[in-house]
């Protein structure tokens, strides 16, 4: 099995992976980073979103081996020096989560949405861009509010 070396949440890591190992499996099973979830098998739910080299990807749809040398950020690495990222804080303040299962993917996707669309990203854009993230609990209302307020503080 080939050895994969990459950076995860700022730390150099390496591990043995099979060619078919998905990034999400590598993160969850080998690194124990279980904040990244698996909610589907067709790349639609977005519970698995992480950042690879600063871009949001669905880690269920990326081969771990293709991330050699990359820098990956998961939900566990978003808070810097023990201080919550503004988007994490916003999800808390706006009650943007209930069961919490979609939440890591939502937050990672939201950070990316703001990076691409700016701090003043409008509601319609947020709703459209969240098409790839499913939540069964909140009705999205407070998630959209959280993304807006998180954006303002980013």
């Amino acid at each position: 099995m080939p050895t994969l070396s990459l950076k995860v949440n700022g730390k150099a890591v390496s591990g043995e992976v099979e060619g078919r190992t998905l990034l999400v499996e590598f993160l969850r099973d080998q690194l124990g980073l279980t904040g990244t979830h698996v909610g589907c098998d067709t790349s639609q739910c977005g519970t698995c979103v992480v950042h690879v080299d600063g871009k949001a990807v669905k880690s269920c749809t990326v081969l771990a081996a293709s991330c050699a040398g990359a820098s990956v950020t998961t939900i566990e690495g978003l808070a810097a020096n023990g201080k919550l990222h503004p988007m994490q804080q916003a999800f808390h303040e706006e009650h943007g989560l209930q069961c919490g299962f979609c939440t890591p993917g939502m937050i990672m996707a939201a950070v990316d949405i703001v990076k691409r669309n700016g701090k003043k990203v409008d509601e319609e854009t947020i709703r459209r861009e969240l098409s790839g993230n499913l939540c069964r609990c909140t009705g999205y209302h407070n998630i959209v509010k959280a993304v807006q307020s998180g954006a303002a503080n980013m």
Partner: protein, 787 residues
């Protein structure tokens, strides 16, 4: 008001672990030496199993065992049960076929569990599962509830014509007489579409057998771990209860689908012993969830409403065929009966009601409670009828409802329920005002200019939740009472642990339950922790469903707190050398009446454990069980406004208003979140979600997110157009005066949406989900009729 007490929108205490990726769901847990289970599932809707050849699979790399129904039988492990007995009109008991945890002789739906492979890795288990050779002899199948009683497919030999029961409620003769003398009768054929729950966390289980202690542990995605333990021990006969610990850690949404005891969790436990005590883990992939989670709804109904010449309702008559799927799931039988027909009076004075229900087997996944469970189906029937009748009588739908509202309480309906409190007119007034109902005409005209048809629809729902008074449900066939338990443990420093039989899987109990404690004891919310979801920690409990954790679970906590305060008063009395009767407790301090002697909560807690003063039993730890006196009856009004595209039939919910009477609120922020989430599920049912089984092949065509249309952020009304309001008539049967709020959103919304679309396009009937195609076709029908 105490800043973290009852009534405050306190931010959730549990959030931190979820927003930082530290939630601990079942699939996040890995036990030492863990093996993996993969199930072999039926590709047929209905077939005889001729043979199962496991030889090749058993010899594949990493495989620890391949097990089938005959292995289960060898160990005398019992089948899955349905815990609610329903009797047919003729007095006979419901006809339940066996439901083995691995199929015996026959499979009855696509996805039925046939065999299990346990291996060192998931990939090895999957490869071996593919090598299990099952030879089937396909049998005729039926997936359609409406055809179940006439099809030649016989799902269980126990149930002739696939009829599980033919049940009735109400006075048939009196209702027939009311229809005979009616001035007007409104009839509708109504289908309540089958839904797939789709909690975002797929079901998962780890079964672990300890060979040293002859003891089992189950980690599972459950809304009610104690009920799981009870059933697995008493009915499956795996082991006595004290030999089984069930842990339901963080659970990623349930909506009913995680109430039930499923084959997979029992198999994982049992298989762990079979493979020598290695823990056995199973996690559903999403397609497996679609195939094997209990589905919801699936009612086919004929309904009629009788009115007199003054627009007053004189009778309601309903016949419903309810699909049970291929087996009776844990609570399946009570959903289309006591959770459905008992709510057919809605918010209205209806002197005569008669409901008849045929529950039927079909070759589909079992159907059981899904958010609202029976009450959305009842509300859909009543509120579609109300809107349609108003239109036929040329009355304003709001006024027609108002004319028929129940206005005095308590109110005994003709279908068992005794409504305790409410003010339906107040909620209607507020909803009409918040939604600017008055000016809808102008908005219709404005929409027309943009090529849109604007429609408005109302729905005035009521539900019975806070499930449930044990004696009442027992007399109706429930196998167990539905009380709740709580324990209050006070630490020497005055911090408090609450142990509850309720289970939180998104509802925010760690916050709301702590608010109650903060309120009562005058201590900071951060000095309270809430423990749930582990049968080794919490003695017993009935779990969370039916919007019961507030009205029933918190009531138990409230009782235990009363006892803890009484005990603390005894301690304070000894410390301050007074009589316990003279001790007052307020705002976190104990005082002696008529003196300036004072001790605060934490000082008394410490003395309870220091125990240097003689004369009292040390410690403060109190528990309580609570059995509610009645259901609670949340009610409210939803107003939905839609724009339908004239060319495409695409429907957008452009404005949505809910006014709910949940009694007193513990945490308005959390309550609003529950309503918003419920409404999204209702909009999903009304516009998007279709569970489709292919008639010819019996295959589930909608077994992935590619095919099953889940509500997304863009399907919901915009932030400014989604308005919530509250009215309050406190519930008289609990000290907090609260009702339940978890299901109301999903109960009230589907009829509001469909009433709005039928208003927009001018049709009488419209099936759910009202996809663009469905709406467009309905519009073509109208156009043809007009030509």
């Amino acid at each position: 008001m105490n800043a973290t007490g009852v009534g405050a929108s306190v931010k959730r205490k549990e959030d931190n672990r979820f927003i930082t990726g530290k939630g601990r769901y079942t699939d996040d847990i890995n036990l030492k030496g863990q093996a993996y289970a993969v199930f072999v599932r039926s590709p047929h809707a209905h077939a005889e199993i001729k043979s199962i050849n496991t030889k090749k699979a058993a010899g594949m790399p990493g495989v620890l065992g391949v097990f089938t129904g005959s292995d289960v039988a060898e160990d005398k492990i019992g089948g899955l049960i349905c815990g609610w007995m329903i009797h047919s009109k003729d007095g006979s008991a419901m006809k339940a076929g066996p439901h083995p945890i691995l199929a015996v002789g026959k499979v009855r739906y696509v996805g039925d569990h046939v065999a299990v492979v346990v291996a060192d890795s998931k990939a090895q288990a999957a490869a071996a599962a593919a090598a299990v050779n099952v030879s089937y002899n396909a049998l005729p199948h039926n997936v359609d509830a409406a055809k179940a009683m006439s099809t030649k497919a016989q799902v269980h030999k126990e149930a002739a014509n696939n009829n599980v029961y033919n049940w009735g409620l109400g006075d048939e003769a009196a209702t027939a007489a009311a229809f005979k003398s009616a001035a007007h009768v409104t009839k509708l054929d109504i289908v309540n579409n089958r839904l797939i729950p789709n909690a975002m966390e797929p079901r998962a289980a780890i079964g672990s057998y300890d060979t040293g202690d002859d003891h089992y542990t189950l980690y599972t995605t459950s809304q009610n771990p104690h009920v799981a333990r009870l059933v697995i021990s008493a009915f499956h006969g795996l082991c006595p209860e004290h030999k089984l610990r069930v842990i339901a850690p963080d659970v990623g949404g349930g909506f009913g689908s995680k109430i039930f005891i499923y084959a997979e969790e029992v198999v994982c436990l049992w298989a762990s012993k079979r493979v020598g005590g290695r823990p056995v883990k199973w996690t559903a992939d999403r397609t497996e969830s679609f195939l094997s989670d209990a589905h919801g709804r699936d009612h086919v109904t004929k309904a009629e409403l009788a009115t007199d010449s003054s627009g007053k309702i004189t009778g309601l008559r309903v016949h419903t065929i309810a699909s049970m799927g291929a087996y009776l799931s844990t609570f399946a039988s009570c959903v289309p009966t006591y959770l459905y027909a008992t709510l057919l009076s809605g918010q209205y004075n209806i002197p005569n009601i008669y409901a008849e229900v045929d529950a039927v087997y079909t070759n589909t996944s079992p159907v059981d409670a899904y958010r609202g469970a029976g009450r959305p189906e009842a509300t859909y029937v009543v509120e579609r009828l109300m809107e349609t009748a108003a239109r036929e009588l040329k009355m304003d739908p709001a006024e027609f409802r108002r004319r028929n509202f129940i206005t005095s309480f308590p109110h005994q309906t003709p279908v068992i329920m005794m409504y305790d409190a409410g003010d339906y007119g107040a909620a209607l007034d507020k909803a009409l005002e918040l939604s600017d109902y008055r000016n809808v005409k102008a908005r219709k005209a404005e929409a027309a200019k943009r090529g849109k048809l604007r429609g408005v629809g109302l729905s005035a729902y009521i539900e019975a939740c806070g499930i449930a008074p044990s004696a009442a449900v027992g007399s109706l066939g429930a196998g167990v009472g539905l009380w709740e338990s709580a324990e209050v443990r006070v630490n020497p420093v005055g911090t408090v642990e609450i142990l509850t039989g309720s289970h939180s899987h998104g509802q925010g109990h760690e916050t709301t339950f702590a608010q109650l404690v903060s309120d009562r004891l005058g201590i900071d919310i951060n000095n309270v922790s809430v423990v749930h979801g582990d049968t080794d920690k919490v003695q017993f409990g009935m779990g969370t469903y039916g919007s019961r954790s507030g009205a029933v679970g918190m009531h138990a906590i409230s009782k235990a707190l009363d006892k803890a305060i009484t005990k603390a008063k005894t301690v304070a009395a000894h410390c301050m050398e007074a009589s316990a009767d003279d001790i007052e407790f307020k705002d976190g301090a104990f005082t002696v009446t008529g003196t300036d002697k004072k001790m605060d909560w934490s000082a008394v807690a410490l003395q309870a454990y220091v125990a240097h003063k003689p004369g009292f039993e040390p410690g403060i730890k109190e528990s309580a069980f609570h059995d509610p006196a009645n259901f609670v009856f949340p009610a409210g009004v939803h107003v939905c406004e839609v724009d339908v595209d004239m060319d495409t039939g695409f429907t957008e919910v452009v404005r949505y208003t809910c006014v709910d009477d949940f009694g007193n609120l513990i945490n308005p922020m959390i309550v609003e979140g529950q309503v918003q989430g419920g409404v999204a599920q209702g909009i999903g049912q009304a516009l998007l979600e279709a569970c489709v089984y292919d008639e010819d092949s019996g295959q589930l065509l909608t077994a992935s997110y590619m095919d099953y249309n889940m509500p997304r952020a863009r399907n919901m009304p915009s932030i400014g157009e989604f308005k919530l309001g509250f009215t309050c008539t406190p519930c008289p049967t609990n000290p907090m005066g609260m009702k339940g709020c978890g299901e109301a959103g999903a109960i009230g919304s589907p009829p509001a949406v469909i009433n709005a679309i039928t208003d927009a396009i001018g049709v009488r009937e419209l099936p759910m989900p009202a996809t663009p195609l469905t709406v467009w076709q309905a519009m073509q029908g109208m156009r043809k009729a007009a030509e």
